[in-house]
Symmetry: C2
Subunit: 385 residues, 2 copies
């Protein structure tokens, strides 16, 4: 196990009815930017619950609607201008990971003096952030309990990750009932997103960290166990509660402490989304088979452990067990409606060639737990996928 | 899964060399109470490392030595008087769980206006606490990452638990090298303490919380796996690192969120320590067989799950699997040098009778995840143990 520093002060309010508590979590006298997405929260009653909670607490607020999936710099800057003009000093993100990620950017940008695109693009120094909280309505990204954010820029077709401790939510409400009205496609995407978040922190090489390994396997096994119910019965409170807690635990930092990580699937996936608009989780399921095909030998020990512990594969040769674990993973993605591999997408050779080029230009290479995935390897991964 | 609120802002600095970082974690200009136990930290070099870190940061500090195992109110009030007289405003606990627990009391007592024994005895309202940090040298209690504390009073023979969010350490250093010089008895006690912390949050009834179950099983399985090396090779860094992280994860609140808990073994154990002076962990290993004997039916489903997942027992009747899991647990305690059951201790019937009486007088009954362990059941548990 390597040295690590773990510090996650996000307060989680979990369960039905918890939206009513947000008034107690936001400092009295705050002027709140209540930010959300496309309006589904109006249809499912979450918007009304939030308004009621803010009004009960006597908090002044201004609404900002329209933060899109893969939240765009251009949209978010409109919110930043609004917040500056209205002197808002608390941000409440209500929605999925894109709304939370977008609000993290707003929280850092409001008092940033300079070109705010430098925040994701140049990891600009951030001195002050506005406090924020979240009401999560889509279990997937883990953004509700971490410091990370991914922002896209329409003008340049870029999609960039960044992070800062100051943008961790002060609190996040996780009410499983808010997920009942989600389209199946988003639930499936969320399951794959959470699952791959764990794989990126787990499928590397053994590092003398048996507890971290088992914590990761716990999230993976639980996702496999609860996915059918969470997909089939939208109002199954317990299935959705377990999905929600798994997705948060998948990326709140805990399972990845002191161990090597490999975010190759995500980094390639982000480029594909930026180039083609394919849903984030779909790019993960598409790229992952390529990563384990090309890096199979480097990841052999952990792939064998994954086969045994998550998929119960203990018979046959090690290679056969690894093959079956990879096949089981792809079948799992398919079972929640997410195609695995790139075959089903219309990715031209020209488009695929842009991925390593863009990663390279931005200094994003090499990737991998051993830093050995260069531009040529990225190309091999895309070919294998 | 039940609703829950989870908020653990303790910053963990894990690994060798991390003591040197404490100067950056304590606010500049603080006047520090550097509190420790019996002096083993002078023999193993931890004291010198802490002094160097405080001096490098230019922090003024006053030492207080002599916080004993099962830290005593009488001793701690001496430290409170010192801190008040010297106007100290940060507390640094350096030692095991007893030192950390004792410092939590000091942190709450310094600005408490009234009889400080009311803090544990009457759950007195605490308005202000002094910030504290910890350097842990004994993996066991989990106190380094939670809000709880257990304090004893010599004059009355009481041992009482209490807690307050304000006494959570701002940071805790977990350097496995500080454990190399521990006596085997303390390492074994620590393993049993951590193991039983998990059992108290796990061995109840199924509550539709498969992730919490697996997280608990992860800590249990890892403790079983690493205990032999951690016991046999004091300077095995990786074994001690894994033990240290397991002990912290066993009681930082995470695995017990949204699930029933049963702290019966601890509550009876505290009374036995108060009455007889038996080491805390030894009382747990002594009492636990009685709890699972008397509450076997209520805990049947989880006992069977525990047998299968932690001990790999899948053959034979359910009763046989449960019997073997209990026997394996007792053998595990014995393997780290901690006797299981009360047979080896000189507990008279008269002394045993005092346990339910004392619990009852303090309003500590009923116990158990279903609140059905009354005075008579406590007596049965002690008889069965």
């Amino acid at each position: 196990m390597d040295n690590f520093v773990f510090h996650n002060p996000v307060k989680i309010l979990f369960g039905k009815g918890q939206i009513a508590s947000i008034g107690k979590e936001i400092p009295k006298g705050s002027r709140v930017l209540f930010a959300f997405g496309g309006g589904s929260i109006k249809a499912n009653g979450v918007h009304a619950q939030v308004v009621a909670a803010l009004n009960t607490a006597g908090l002044a607020f201004v609404e900002f609607a329209g933060i899109e999936p893969n939240p765009r710099f251009e949209t978010l800057m409109t919110a930043v201008d609004l917040a500056r003009a209205e002197k808002l000093d608390f941000i409440l993100a209500v929605g999925g990971g894109s709304v939370v990620d977008g609000c993290k950017f707003i929280a850092a940008a409001i008092s940033y003096d300079g070109d705010c695109w430098d925040i994701p693009a140049r990891r600009a120094r951030i001195n002050t952030t506005i406090p924020m909280g979240a009401v999560l309505t889509l279990p997937a990204t883990g953004s509700e309990m971490n410091a990370f954010s991914v922002i896209s820029r329409e003008a340049t077709g870029e999609k960039l990750g960044w992070g800062h401790p100051g943008v961790m939510p002060r609190f996040s409400v996780l009410d499983p009932e808010t997920t009942f009205s989600l389209p199946a496609r988003q639930v499936g995407n969320g399951i794959v997103d959470a699952f791959v978040h764990v794989l990126e922190q787990y499928l590397t090489f053994p590092a003398n960290a048996p507890l971290q390994d088992r914590l990761a396997e716990s999230v993976l096994s639980t996702l496999v166990e609860i996915a059918p119910q969470a997909m089939e019965i939208p109002a199954d409170y317990q299935a959705r509660a377990n999905l929600m807690w798994c997705a948060t635990m998948a990326l709140n930092g805990l399972i990845g402490q002191g161990v090597p990580q490999d975010w190759t699937t995500h980094m390639i996936g982000h480029e594909l989304t930026a180039l083609t608009g394919i849903d984030h989780a779909r790019t993960l399921a598409a790229v992952w088979p390529g990563v384990v095909a090309v890096k199979r030998e480097a990841k052999r020990d952990k792939l064998a452990q994954y086969a045994a512990r998550v998929w119960g594969l203990n018979d046959g040769t090690e290679d056969s067990r690894i093959d079956r674990a990879i096949a089981a993973t792809r079948a799992f993605f398919q079972s929640v409606g997410v195609p695995s591999g790139l075959a089903g997408y219309d990715i031209t050779a020209e488009m695929a060639a842009k991925v390593p080029q863009r990663l390279s230009e931005r200094g994003g290479l090499p990737l991998g737990e051993k830093g050995d995935i260069d531009a040529a390897t990225v190309q091999h991964i895309l070919d294998a996928a």
